[in-house]
């Protein structure tokens, strides 16, 4: 095994890990505030990638504007869904939210499979980020470096906004006792809608970032979400920092197993999940409720 292969897989692991982190971070925000397990998160990841592709294909709008516009479109779509559908199940058992979002996921994925098939659409790297640098121990493609940096900035920026700012204090307080926060004059229903928008926009951005690396495929959301839910179980549901760290760490672990024992790479995360469930069922960063 060569060092190049090792570092190459590490980088790819880090990239996948940052996608896991962004998706599970979005899930954590939504779960904290809405008490809904958003099974449609994978669809929003796929929609982010498809919106970027459609912007280029049909309107001629390139990568950089799409990086803003596609997640914005995903957020708006998500917020309409929250206002019209999700709010109807808030007072019911968690299971209803899970089933509803699972159904929404199936509908969205099914429509895109019907329209675009499952072979995948290519999406080119932005011109500015083609090529790469030789770091001596490995060749670092510029676009991959950008994805890792952008994801880390986004994840830790989101963490900072939630843990250290005034808006974040509103969110944390509303997670604990929404009625009391409303009784202080804060519009919590609006806060919930915007947070849902932000949570799914994170998946949308991940989708745009992923589009040039993988193809734009209607099944991409379904493929990633299984792993993301395992990440969420390992990290502990609802933990902000936990979802970021677990996402990145498991991506790297998956990458490493591709080098050292490729046969296990598809199941290593699930093996970790089983171990964690046996030892600490609430997850590594989870707290007993």
């Amino acid at each position: 095994m060569s060092a190049t292969a090792l570092f190459g897989q590490l980088l790819l692991g880090l990239i996948n890990g940052s996608f896991y982190a962004m998706l599970s971070l979005g899930l954590a925000i939504v779960f904290g505030l809405l008490a809904i397990v958003n099974a449609a998160q994978g669809a929003f990841y796929m929609l982010g990638a498809f919106f970027a592709w459609m912007l280029l294909q049909y309107v001629g709008i390139g990568y950089w504007p799409a990086l803003i516009l596609a997640p914005l479109g995903v957020a708006i779509f998500g917020m309409v869904m929250e206002r019209t559908l999700l709010k109807r199940v808030y007072n019911l058992d968690h299971l209803y939210g899970l089933l509803l979002t699972l159904g929404i996921f199936q509908i969205i994925q099914g429509m895109f499979v019907y329209w675009y098939g499952t072979s995948g659409q290519p999406y080119n790297y932005p011109y500015e980020l083609t090529g790469g640098h030789n770091l001596g121990f490995m060749f670092m493609p510029n676009y991959r470096a950008w994805v890792v940096v952008a994801s880390l900035v986004l994840c830790f920026g989101t963490w900072y906004a939630i843990e250290k700012t005034r808006l974040g204090a509103y969110l944390r307080a509303a997670t604990e006792n929404p009625m009391l926060v409303r009784a202080f004059g804060i519009n919590v229903p609006m806060l919930v809608t915007l947070s849902f928008g932000a949570g799914v926009a994170l998946a949308g951005i991940a989708g745009v970032l992923a589009a040039p690396i993988y193809q734009v495929n209607p099944l991409m959301g379904g493929n990633i979400i299984t792993v993301v839910f395992a990440v969420v179980v390992i990290g502990g549901f609802g933990s902000i920092l936990g979802s970021i760290i677990t996402g990145l760490a498991l991506g790297v672990l998956e990458g490493l197993s591709k080098v050292f024992y490729p046969e296990a790479s598809n199941m290593v995360i699930f093996a970790v999940m089983i171990l964690v469930l046996m030892v600490k069922p609430v997850g590594l960063f989870g707290r007993e409720r």
């Binding site: 204090a169 944390r172 009784a183 202080f184 804060i186």
Partner: protein, 234 residues
């Protein structure tokens, strides 16, 4: 009576299917401190929750500062200038003391400054970075009151501020209420500790089975003490 701040008429309220408030009537004028007294479970806390709009199902009329609020959501009611200190204090465990203090947005000018609040509640001063959950019961109660005094609310609703607290803390909260009153704020207080309530309030509404059954003014307390004790079962 001074300018009315709160006028509650024929207020009915439900928790799910169970009918808890059966036509509550009460009025509070500008600058008054008024209590609702009564035994456990007669609907005192529910009345406060109904006034704040937290109780989902309510009917009748609740006018605050002259505006009908029976169809308003809690955030709109709060914005009229109401500060709410709930039962169990409602300190957010995941927020620091400072974050708790600054959580309620400013509703109107004229609220107390942070310096004034720290003078009034010296115990809170050095606890800014502690998590809300790390405070003692008394400190939590101080914080819950301090946090609404910052907002400029003109009408305060306090639900059992002395519950479970040591006598010296109760005295301290009594002094805080005097300060609040001297600032011309209006207060509606639910209180089990009648001695405490009698010391601060202008008027007492006696509640039983979801209704106001008697009103006792401050001047009448001594002559009506026996009746009151019978109501409260002491």
């Amino acid at each position: 009576m001074p300018e009315p701040i709160l006028e509650v008429a024929r207020l009915n309220g439900w928790y799910g299917e169970s009918h808890v408030l059966h036509g509550v009537d009460l009025k509070i004028g500008q600058g008054e401190v008024v209590t609702i007294v009564g035994r456990n479970g007669v609907g005192k806390t529910t009345t406060l929750r109904a006034i704040m709009g937290i109780l989902r199902r309510r009917e009748g009329s609740v006018k605050l500062f002259g505006a009908e609020t029976i169809r308003m959501v809690p955030e709109k009611i709060a914005k009229l200038g109401v500060g709410y200190v709930p039962e169990e204090r409602g300190i957010f465990a995941s927020l620091t003391v400072t974050e708790n203090l600054f959580l309620p947005p400013i509703l109107a000018p004229g609220g107390m400054s942070v310096d004034e609040l720290y003078t009034l509640f010296p115990n809170l001063k050095d606890r800014g970075r502690s998590q809300g959950s790390k405070l003692s019961g008394g400190e939590q109660q101080m914080l819950a009151i301090a946090r609404v005094l910052r907002t400029g609310a003109r009408f305060l609703i306090l639900d059992e501020p002395t519950e479970g607290l040591a006598p010296v803390i109760v005295q301290q909260i009594g002094r805080v209420l005097e300060t609040i009153k001297s600032k011309g704020l209006t207060v509606l207080l639910v209180e089990q500790n009648f001695r405490f309530a009698a010391g601060v309030a202008d008027r007492h509404y006696v509640m039983e089975s979801g209704k106001i059954i008697d009103v006792i003014n401050r001047s009448e307390i001594t002559e009506k003490m026996e009746r009151l004790e019978a109501y409260l079962g002491v």
